[in-house]
């Protein structure tokens, strides 16, 4: 939205002579209608941390040429397991992690990278129309549809590189990721953001914009009867967005929720130009991580999908000599540069977890109420393997998920089981997940408390 409300309101203020009235500090902490931390219970939150091009889980037949650098050492909880070389950057967070290995995506691998991403995140196959077209909603959107109905934003999609991400509300209905940190800041924490204790915005422009949206929704509704089923569904997507925006404008007039830990995060730079041929992945990821943490702490949303990179990303990482995807295919075993990239990716995941743990909430931290799924579309990228997938979960979803544990499935179980467990951990009643070979009615019980 690139500073939609903020820039626009400023523009309207200049042209229309009507300034935005930011709320004054007041003493309504106990009067806020939106306080939710009753009895110390915080809402459930879900996050996705996705990176492209896999890991290096090794080849058991060639242990010297291609050793396993991903799988943790030992199984079980606490001292029974230690982090692997590639997971080592997550050491400070071992106490809140559940690493699951030995899982498989059960649908056909018809399109390298794409099939894996769609199968893991949506439990379904790709659309025949497009490599980027999923045929079903992704796990973040299934969760957001249940837990994202009262917040300013139903969900957020972000990226640390120039990618649209892979969050889908339904067939071909992509929620494009915001990959510009400054634009995300303007959207979440710009002129319309009010700190806890402040008052809602007072501006005639908010009501006028809602009137315009009402008219547009009427126009969309009037058009629908003339259309076929597929186009009606497309306009339903459009209507959903219009309603969300109208509700957000209404909420801006309310006082913000009373949340002790909510604050404006550091303002990111206006631009993060590539450093030569190297994108500023670390800086952009850090800025996004801090904003996502505060978006949760301020209850602007309860679901996010953050894409460090995308499948087939050819981003160049510091210390490497070629694009990531090229290296996965062309670097000779044991692929030291691919190994270094995966280690960097886990460092970026650690940065996100650190941001969530840095926010105190009740007696613990923001992460306690979260389940953050870290995953990638393949395991051994060189052959686009969909076995031995990478699953790293941070946070217990308010005590629903086990922590400090390495769970290994000896039988290449269906990765959909993890998605079903994660959905259920959000207190959502869900009987099944996935289609065809990816279908399951069982969660991964070893992950559940």
């Amino acid at each position: 939205m690139r500073g939609l409300i903020g820039r626009r309101t400023v523009l309207r203020g200049l042209l229309g002579g009507s300034a935005v009235a930011l709320g004054l500090p007041a003493l309504e902490a106990m009067m806020s209608p939106r306080a939710f931390a009753v009895g110390g219970l915080f809402p459930k939150r879900f996050g996705l941390f996705f990176w492209g091009n896999g890991t290096l889980p090794g080849d058991p037949d060639k242990p010297l040429e291609n050793p396993d650098r991903w799988t943790p050492i030992g199984e079980g909880s606490g001292s029974a397991w230690t982090l692997s070389e590639q997971l080592a950057p997550l050491a400070a967070h071992k106490d809140v992690l559940a690493v699951v290995t030995g899982l498989s995506m059960k649908l056909p691998n018809t399109y390298p990278h794409g099939s894996g991403a769609a199968g893991i995140l949506s439990g379904a196959v790709l659309s025949k129309d497009s490599m980027d077209g999923f045929t079903a909603a992704t796990v973040d959107q299934v969760i957001a549809a249940e837990i994202g109905t009262t917040t300013l934003f139903g969900s957020l999609q972000t990226a640390a590189t120039d990618t649209l991400g892979l969050s889908f509300s339904g067939e071909n209905a992509r929620n494009p990721a915001e990959f510009d940190p400054y634009a995300l800041f303007q959207r979440l924490f710009g002129d319309t953001f009010v700190l806890p204790g402040g008052e809602g915005l007072v501006s005639p422009t908010l009501g006028l914009r809602r009137s315009v949206l009402d008219a547009v929704m009427n126009d969309v509704g009037a058009l629908q009867p003339r259309l076929g089923a597929a186009d009606k569904a497309r306009l339903d997507q459009h209507l959903t967005g219009l309603r969300e925006l109208e509700q957000r404008l209404a909420k801006l007039e309310e006082d913000p929720p009373d949340l002790a830990s909510c604050d404006r995060p550091p303002e990111p730079l206006e631009a993060y130009p590539d450093d030569g041929d190297y994108p500023q992945i670390e800086e952009r990821n850090a800025a996004m991580a801090d904003m996502l943490a505060m978006a949760l702490a301020c209850d602007q949303t309860r679901t996010f999908a953050h894409f460090l990179t995308e499948p087939i990303t050819n981003a160049r990482y510091p210390g490497t000599t070629d694009g990531n995807h090229n290296l996965t295919h062309d670097e000779p075993n044991p692929q030291p540069q691919v190994n270094a990239i995966t280690i960097q990716n886990m460092g970026h995941f650690a940065r996100l977890i650190s941001a969530l743990r840095a926010v105190p909430e009740g007696a613990g931290t923001l992460l306690d109420s979260c389940a953050v799924l870290g995953t990638t579309e393949t395991s051994y990228g060189r052959i686009h393997s969909k076995d031995n997938l990478a699953i790293v979960i941070a946070g217990s979803a308010g005590g629903k998920l086990v922590q400090d544990v390495h769970i290994h499935s000896p039988s290449q179980e269906n990765v959909s089981k993890v998605m079903l467990t994660l959905i259920r951990s959000m207190d959502i009643v869900a009987g099944e997940w996935g289609t065809d070979a990816a279908h399951t009615t069982d969660g991964l019980s070893a992950l559940e408390v």
Partner: protein
Amino acid sequence: MLAGIAAGLPAGFAGGCGREPVDETQAVERGDEPVVAAGPAGLRRLTAAEYANAVTDLFGDGLVLPTALEPDLDVDGLNEVGASIAAISPLGVERYEDASYLLADQVAADHARRARFDACAPAGADDACAEAILRPMARLAWRRSPTDAELDTLVGLGRQATAALGTFDDGLAYPIAAVLQSPAFLYRVEVGADGRFTPLELASRMSFLLWAGPPDEALLDRADDGSLADPEVRRDEADRMLADPRARRGLRAMFDDYLGLDVLPTLPKDTTLFEHWTDGIGASAREETLAGLERLVFDDEADIRDLMTTRTAVIDRALAALYGVPAPAHDGFAATALPADGPRAGLLGQASFLSINAHSVSTSVTRRGKFIHTVLLCREIPPPPANVDTSIPEPSPDAPTMRDRVASHLADPMCASCHSVTDPVGLAFEQFDGIGRFRTLENETLIDPTGELDGIPFADALGLSTVLHDHPDLPACLTETAFRFAQGRELSLDEAALAEWHNAGLAGQGYRWRTLLVDLIAADAFAVAGEAQ
């Protein structure tokens, strides 16, 4: 795509040295237009480029345009096909709303711009003035006249906003924003009535095909009086529209989409390896291709197949340095004659093709070969199978050149099924590095650029371009692409016969691109609407 790799070559194309040259002087006899069932019809979301063109046509040049809109969806190589499938996300709704006020505020405050619709400028509420401005604005924006009820709603929004904000100008921004957020603006509604597109729908189909933007008033008038249902009227209007400067914009939009040139301005290249890849050269490479097409089609009115072989390059100084040819005398782009005995000619000698279809640190024979087959010849090549090691060996004394190294692709039967198609063609371009600079050596070894396409041998990239120029699948594929662009979807199997019929028409007119566009528009199939999708 219609033609698979396994499909035989069309009759009349005898491969090899003794083939018949195409006789351009003789009109191809093609018979009557085949009657086939139409594919599905429905909504087409404006692409980002079409949105920008539409608001420019509506409000005039010089506006600050929105920079972030809902991204386009590329389906089967065309955003124009994705536009019939793509939905609008919640973030997209926000961005369209943001864009609508960015534009509406500029227009409402600018009496000169407003005068395009009506010059009235009251201080306070004035429904008559609001209606005088909004009625023609909505007609052009929505590509149809607004209903009385719709106009009442717009005028009412203006009245409400003027009351709240105090002045007519401030209030007017809100109904303008409503015009731009309306589904009638954001989507082309092409659903037809009784199996035919309505004249207004035909007007939009024509203007977005020829101009990549909305109809003008003259075309809307031809729709409102019903005359666009007559193919001869459509033919006359198409001729008029092709003489308008907006037709150049339309040609650029179509080929930008078709050739995937939009990636060029931000295409990453390793500048330590490629010192000629300077800031802005990606955008220059895009401009070279598009300006060259514009010249070929509109200035020279040449055979479109000459795109493959022309020695006239429209280049700037950065590209001249990359190509090692004399630079234009002035800043900016100029038509330059490439050396007649040089290694470079046509589209496949341009930095755009050569750099997009390569890696950031190297060439890619697979990508370049795949482009020839899938984009230029409309053949299908499946993605690589999973669980296959796709690595290419490192250079070594035994395998100094890429031809030596990709031999592994061709030794493994599983890889060879596709790589034996892509790689021999892609190897023709190995004398051009990852950004298109000419070279004859790789690792101090002479590069062998010879090969064959469909049994026809060539000596190098120039030779391949000549083979492609004369290849019957090239104009067939260009025709199919323009047809897909017009329909906004994949063609049905039935429509393949129509594509062949249009292709015969193109051949009969000496392969003049403008005649193909007019032919598409005048055909009965252009006016037939299938089931609502």
